[in-house]
Amino acid sequence: MKSKLNLRKVYLTILMLFFYLPILYMIIFSFNSSKSLTKFTGFSLEWYESLFTNSTMIEAIYYTIIIAVIATVVSTIVGTLACIGLSKSRKILKRFVEQVNQLPILNPEIVTAIGLMLFFASLNIEKGFLTLLLSHIVFCIPYVMLSVAPRIRKLDPNLLDAAMDLGASPSYALVKVIVPQLMPGIIAGALIAFTMSFDDFVISYFVTGNGVNNISIMVYTMSKRVNPTINALSTLIVVTIAMVMFVYYIFDKKSKVEKK
């Protein structure tokens, strides 16, 4: 039994090293004083400096965040409303929406990407901020709906009737009764939408233009040459995500303790 336990530990440790060593490596080399990605020549903040003085980089970070925020807000609202509506609509409509919603999820991203690219081109919409934003909303909504739908199914169907019997208008009942019940699903959906949008490369790459780039596209174009600025940028992203997760973890723990 003892040796079995060790095998498990060794295996999982190696796996974790596999996951985290490349990230650690990247962080270390973001502080390298030379351009080399293989020899550590000394500590410096050179690449962070060049990151913050590079205007295209700052722009890409700006676009990534602003698009992720707008896409998250829009797709969360539209997705939630559509989901609520769907639960009350006819079977044919339900099936239709469910099937079409599967397309961006089951199709390879590159297919969704070129579909949207062809679509914008055939309508003569110039590629840029608008096309990028619209595309992000397109692929975020199905994920929001996927996480809201199970909550709706668990909803008590009498809840709405009760609210309206007590004199609530439909919109009041929606905002004050239905939506709060769905909140955990909505928040989870919004989080998924945000990370999907923030990390997206394939779809963004095909539908953007006019110098509007996000972080992923910058990494892709920059990685053709050796450029440690990417490491600096990536390190900042990793640190941000780690901090967000940490705060979330603490928050989660606290709320669980309070519930007990």
């Binding site: 498990r8 295996y11 999982l12 974790m16 596999f18 996951f19 985290y20 060593l21 490349p22 990230i23 490596y25 990247m26 080399f29 990605l37 293989t38 020899k39 539209v78 409303l81 559509a82 509506g85 769907l86 639960s87 009350k88 609509s89 409509l93 239709f96 929406v97 079409v100 089951l106 199709n107 390879p108 991203e109 590159i110 297919v111 070129i114 579909g115 949207l116 062809l118 679509f119 081109a121 397109v138 909504i141 709405l160 439909p170 923030f198 990390d199 490369f201 394939v202 095909f206 990494v219 892709y220 990685s223 990417i230 940028l233 990536s234 992203i237 990793v238 995500i241 780690a242 997760m245």
Partner: protein, 274 residues
């Protein structure tokens, strides 16, 4: 509640415009000649004939499928034991490990792939370590090995999480019953645990195979030009050469192959369980 059902109508219009129309456009482009006006559509099968009559394209297709299948198999081989071990741990440790596996997934795939370049390159970490022990330098960057490694690195968490989800849903008393009835551990695993975790393996396969077969930045970043996959082909025809008709045909062929293999996987799964 007719009132609320109206809430979905704008969304039906939305998906018809932004999801259905683009898909139909791909089919339209794939089946028409280039340089068409909207009114003078010329339908043709030339794009498909061109693809299947050129050895180069067929080889790219076979190469993509090969790499995707190898990646998927490696992901099962690495992911299954990991998920199995985690499901055997106590709940708290297991939850921490699952969190540790999920965390890197939140980091941009390009960023994570990019991190491997310095490790795999000719004078990178691995070769330095090998050199230190007196081994010869191994060329890893811009090889098939690097591409598969990059894919496994990016996609294996999906496999682990899916298998773990189905293993943790499993009724533990079945294993106990099997043990009580005199089955040894191997028998219990093969007859109880493995079949019950199959749905997780199947959805893991979907989540790994799909992005692997269509990936284009991993082969580009880690494979250089050495490994041309179907995703790279699509990128070239859309971004570089601008031959959208042929590019659409390639994507359509890829989408159909993927759908067919998903169908097969599900079929095999069902057949195996009957």
């Amino acid at each position: 509640m007719k009132l609320f059902s109206r809430l979905v109508h704008p969304y039906v219009v939305w998906i018809s415009i932004f999801v259905l129309a683009p898909m139909l456009l791909i089919v339209l482009y794939a089946t028409t000649t280039s340089g068409n006006g909207t009114l003078t559509l010329q339908f043709t099968a030339d794009n498909f004939i061109r693809f299947f009559s050129d050895e180069l394209f067929i080889n790219v297709l076979i190469n993509s499928l090969e790499i995707a299948v190898i990646t998927t198999l490696i992901c099962i081989a690495i992911g299954y034991p990991a998920a199995y071990f985690i499901s055997k741990m106590n709940a708290k440790q297991g939850a921490i490990l699952i969190l540790l596996i999920t965390l890197p997934m939140l980091i941009n795939m390009l960023v994570r792939t990019n991190a491997w370049i310095g490790i795999l390159s000719d004078n990178g970490v691995i070769n330095n370590v090998l050199g230190f022990f007196g081994f010869e330098e191994v060329k890893m960057m811009y090889t098939r090995f690097a591409v598969i490694l990059g894919m496994v690195y990016n996609f294996v968490p999906f496999m682990i999480l899916q298998i773990h989800a189905s293993l943790s849903k499993m009724d533990k008393s079945l294993v106990e019953a099997s043990n009580d009835l005199g089955a040894n551990r191997m028998q219990t695993f093969l007859k109880i645990t493995l079949p019950l975790s199959m749905p997780g393996v199947i959805s893991g396969i979907t989540l790994v195979f799909l992005p692997a077969v269509s990936s284009f930045f991993i082969p580009k970043l880690l494979g250089g030009g050495s490994e041309l996959l179907i995703g790279n082909l699509i990128e070239t025809y859309f971004i570089t050469t601008g031959d959208w008709n042929f590019g659409s045909a390639i994507s359509l062929i890829m989408a159909i192959i993927i759908m067919f293999s998903m169908y097969l996987t599900k079929k095999v799964d069902k057949g195996g369980r009957d």
